[in-house]
Symmetry: C2
Subunit: 350 residues, 2 copies
Amino acid sequence: MFQDKNIPKTPISDIGEFELIKKITQHFKIRQNKTILGIGDDSSVLDFKNNQTLVSSDMLVEGIHFDLAYMPLKHLGYKSVMVNLSDIYAMNGKASHILVSIAISNRFTIESIQEIYKGIETACKNYNVDLIGGDTTSSTSGLIISITAIGYAKKNQVVLRKGAKPNDLMIVTGDLGGAYIGLQVLEREKAVFNVNPQSQPDLSQYSYCIERQLKPEARKDISSILSDLKITPTSMIDISDGLSSEIIHLSESSKVGFILYEDKIPLDSEVTKTCEEFKINGSIAALNGGEDYELLFTINQKDYKKIKTSPSFSIIGHVTNDINDRHMISRLGEKIKLEAQGWNSTKKTY
Amino acid sequence: MFQDKNIPKTPISDIGEFELIKKITQHFKIRQNKTILGIGDDSSVLDFKNNQTLVSSDMLVEGIHFDLAYMPLKHLGYKSVMVNLSDIYAMNGKASHILVSIAISNRFTIESIQEIYKGIETACKNYNVDLIGGDTTSSTSGLIISITAIGYAKKNQVVLRKGAKPNDLMIVTGDLGGAYIGLQVLEREKAVFNVNPQSQPDLSQYSYCIERQLKPEARKDISSILSDLKITPTSMIDISDGLSSEIIHLSESSKVGFILYEDKIPLDSEVTKTCEEFKINGSIAALNGGEDYELLFTINQKDYKKIKTSPSFSIIGHVTNDINDRHMISRLGEKIKLEAQGWNSTKKTY
């Protein structure tokens, strides 16, 4: 509903697939010296020297993971890359390459596909990542984007979900809940638009929340910040499904418990305000929302001094020795059991 | 139509996605010492030491690339892996890992997804490949399988599409056209079945062609055979779109011409016989068919003696110095221009 309707509309059948691939990939540059061979052969060739290689895949399906009524195609391309890079950053790695496969129904034009790839290209530029392969194909209905992200890390730098130890501190980057409440704003505007297509919504007061939903940024910066602080986390995960669900993942992998303090959960003031408007508890948005693509990790207590003044991090709790002890201490001092009410129960990466 | 209809039918909603992932991945073993960490974290961790890494992605969409009317789900899983491994073998590399993302509509049951993964697992076992990641998600319609294949090769072993030189010999592995004519048999049987669902077709006389279509094998063996013969091809590609189209790819990448001899194109006797039945020229099936997943490559003439008696290879032509000189010399001695009438114009990997 917020898209420019004046762009030309050329059916894909006008040029054929080889020409389309040329069109959409011609602006992509190779930035990584690890890329020996990019697009154009049976496979790409990479050289990671002495590093370990990190690989992760994610698939986004129209009508399940995104709604083109309010998701501009360029943003969709950008966000699809973020979702994938985030998994590499969650290993304390550096993302370097992506492969993008897209299935599109014939309702999409050449220009609309170019829009998606413009977003992908911007993401590649901003995150210093090379597009090195993929696939374009017809779909019988809708749009599906499948991305594989590749990165690297030195052997002793990789941080897994397992590794958290009792008494470790639990840390989160940035702030939470914005993407979830941003989605509520967009869903409301879509409902208004469906009733009155002439409505001109003023969404400026929700700009942060909407941006968190439509154009999230993966935390490329964190591994460098931690490295500068000489901190290696003991465990790490990215927040795609909501804080609660991610804490449970760390708990299960590390075989430890977690105590989370509600009053420590970082919330942006716009998020708090918008949550109030929607009569949603901000903590609930953070716990069960998801799609914030922040990082959740644990550190040894000895690193507390190094981290306590950093503006990038919030200490939100600590690790206990009982795997069944997964609780939040509420503002009122109640002990509430954390449950996995993930963001999106229709989608799970393995 | 050839599937067992007696397997139980449990809706996916009965167990939820985490349980489903556990069910489908529990039988997979880690076989590669290059796999430091497989499924279960934000990304997998691989270590290729001094090798270069090869990566390729391919997407298969129901109704575009496969028809479940005659494609058993187990075969579909198997073939999806073959299509992807073939791209690694086409670089003269060794395939080692796959990531599999699947989008499924709610008409699929747990058992049907398990069938797909059984095929994937058999492929992993037969080809010594580890499943190290992926995604399962809902789709609004149909089944989509997106696979990323990863492999490796020593730096000086990688063979690209570019590199063919004038006077090189053009070689193909195995035989061609079988997958295409196998598809014609299956399409005919589907039409018969639609008219008379009680028909019990005897397809034994087409067993090779049907197997080429439903359960192709990627040429894992070729890089070892070539290595034993001390041959490094000058260029290589896999035959997914038909011989003609692949020759043109090598020609464009290497900036050379190719002369192909029709009487040298290897055809299995069952393929020739079935082509006659369908009134299709066997050479046309090989040239424009595709999906054979054989390898096409060029070698320096000095290697002729090493290869001439090998049963794995057919010398089918040679390289010329004029990029526009892409011709087939027919059985009648005519010079026919090769055109890219690929197998499947709706799908192009980049």
